[in-house]
Symmetry: C2
Subunit: 371 residues, 2 copies
């Protein structure tokens, strides 16, 4: 079972930012942490050694995707997701809730669970909160997520309340199933409540009343303005227990990570660094660059002279631009290594600043480099 | 300048297979050798470290592709192809002749050279034999190829003779240009002559009359039956000087390499291992496998239990099948590493067998494992 050790509480120089360690049998995770997304059992474009190089301590897998392909009928006999993918450190799996909202065809939510059709072949499936936990137990993930009902933005207050209520009921059922199963995998609860503070408050109260080993805030970064996302996170994070990990799902930009770590969030995941990499958008200490830009045609410098990643140590902007323009496979790998290194290095810098009690100063410097 | 050292001549146990070393300022190449193809300055799907792991000693770049994109106007100011791509060992570039035959739009051959349109944007260009050498000098390749006229199969005897005559005339002009430039890059001549022994004979005589540091056989593997390709190679190879490297362009399968090394060929290149990798076709010591096959769904074995490549040491057929079916980028890299490792390991085994004076026995064993 997971153990969460808080190394710093709130200190003057850190604002509400906090440092911690999540200890699991497969390894310890330093928080605040960013989790690269390995949708179908592979972080797109890179290998486990590349993840090591980037400093990844935990990666995320998507239950919806893995359930559909290759399916538990493959992953179970292969010894679980870790053995199947040859990644032997911690892995978190989501519950499918976000994909039912974003990807699946004709998802229908009932009290019992979610009926949906595969986005791959249209085949029909059903997830109950118990089944979502069962599948994740079969995958063998270190941190499992409760089945939730995620709303988009905008949504009516009624829709949002309905989704919240279902999320609470499902969280209880998933929790009971998990407890009865006596599984060693951890299960986190998810707070919903859309963009309505009162509903976020109610959801946080209901979900944290269940003794999950960690809590997530879901339903953010679903199309709302950044300020509204910050407002909701700022409102909700203090409602979560101090002594358990807090995870904001599906967020976000480097600026989001710094801001939300400053509000006391411990865990993040997002496809942005890897997806942007495949679209030639690369993060640097002074902002993002588009590697296809003609100005890099004969630019002999690395993407970011302040970066120590494999890509920056070996290749010029000119070559990276050429690879990208030529749609060479190496382009996607080199760009992804750079972007994930950037994200994970940023988290290491955040942790270092908190450790030194100077997170607020770090945050100030971070934003002034970008303007 | 290149130096070729023959380590074994014809010996009873080796048939006509020969062992050698091509010494260049950027490194020594053990022959017989296979050269992975890095079309536009990157061997598709893998990095230079992956090439090291596979045992690559020399890679090939395509002048036609590099000339069009990124162009010498990028590669020249970036310090040449080696510096641009961060590959610091030997590189061979072809002359464009094969691409004019296979890829370019509306290629028109005149006495002066080849007019063609880019397959990328339809822009109009012209290569003379001098310009083909000039571009390769600008790229800075270690071994350059003369501009040749490559015919498909079938072709009439008249067409074949015309292409041969043009190839000889262009070889002389390219050679003179290269000599006058005093370039340190090496330049190889190319024998043409289609599927007509008398024309192969004539071309070999004309081309070997020019003092190139090495010779290639072009115009094979252009659609003819394998036996006819072997017949032409078998006829032509003995017409090339014993004391210079012999290169058969664009060939071939593992079976082709073993057979042609047995006829005394020293150098090979082909897109087959990397292209097949991207199509899920993987080479093994007992033949090729198609990784998408349902029989590998829960197969916990490596692709080839006799293989020591990174892919085989780390991943199961089940995972590789899943990655391939999911079109994950990692699939292309892992498959390419395996196939190139297989090819380069095969060449190392061929060299070892020749060194031990038992190539004929090796060849017999190689073919009996496949039937």
């Amino acid at each position: 079972m997971l153990e969460f050790e808080r190394l710093t509480g709130e200190r003057p120089g850190n604002g509400r930012a906090r440092l911690g360690k999540i200890k699991t049998p497969r390894g310890t995770i330093d928080t605040p942490i960013f989790m690269p997304v390995g949708t179908v059992g592979s972080v797109k474009g890179i290998s486990k050694e590349d993840l090591d190089h980037c400093g990844a301590q935990i990666i995320l897998g998507n239950t919806y995707h893995l359930y559909l392909r290759p399916g538990t009928e493959v992953i179970e006999p292969m010894g679980g997701l870790h053995k199947f993918t040859a990644w032997d450190r911690p892995m978190l799996t989501d519950s499918g809730g976000f994909q039912f909202f974003s990807l699946a065809k004709l998802a229908r939510f009932t009290d019992e669970g979610v009926k949906f059709q595969s986005h791959i072949d249209g085949s029909r499936h059903f997830f109950s909160p118990e089944k979502a936990v069962q599948i994740q137990m079969t995958l063998g993930s270190d941190i499992m997520m409760s089945l939730d009902w995620c709303m988009g933005h905008p949504a009516t207050q009624d829709q949002t309340r309905q989704a919240l209520e279902k999320t609470t009921a499902w969280a209880k059922r998933g929790f009971d199933f998990w407890q009865a199963a006596g599984a060693k995998n951890n299960l986190f609860g998810i707070v919903q409540g859309g963009m309505v503070k009162a509903l976020r408050h109610r959801s946080a109260q209901e979900i944290t009343a269940i003794d999950f080993p960690g809590f997530a805030i879901g339903g953010l970064s679903v199309g709302e303005p950044t300020d509204l996302m910050y407002e909701m996170a700022d409102h909700t994070l203090p409602l979560l227990p101090q002594d358990k990990p807090r995870y904001i799902m599906g967020v976000g930009t480097p600026e989001n990570l710094v801001t939300l770590a400053g509000m006391g969030c411990d865990m993040f995941d997002c496809v942005m660094p890897s997806r942007n990499a495949r679209n030639g958008k690369l993060f640097t200490s002074t902002g993002a660059v588009n590697i296809s830009n003609a100005r890099y045609k004969t630019d002999g410098r690395p993407i970011d002279e302040a970066c120590s990643c494999y890509t920056c140590r070996n290749y010029t902007r000119a070559y990276l631009r050429h690879l990208y323009k030529s749609r060479e496979l190496l382009s996607y790998r080199l760009n992804t290594i750079h972007n994930l290194y950037y994200y994970l290095d940023l988290m290491a810098k955040i942790r270092h600043a908190i450790h030194k009690g100077r997170f607020e100063a770090f945050k100030h410097d971070f934003f002034s480099q970008r303007t």
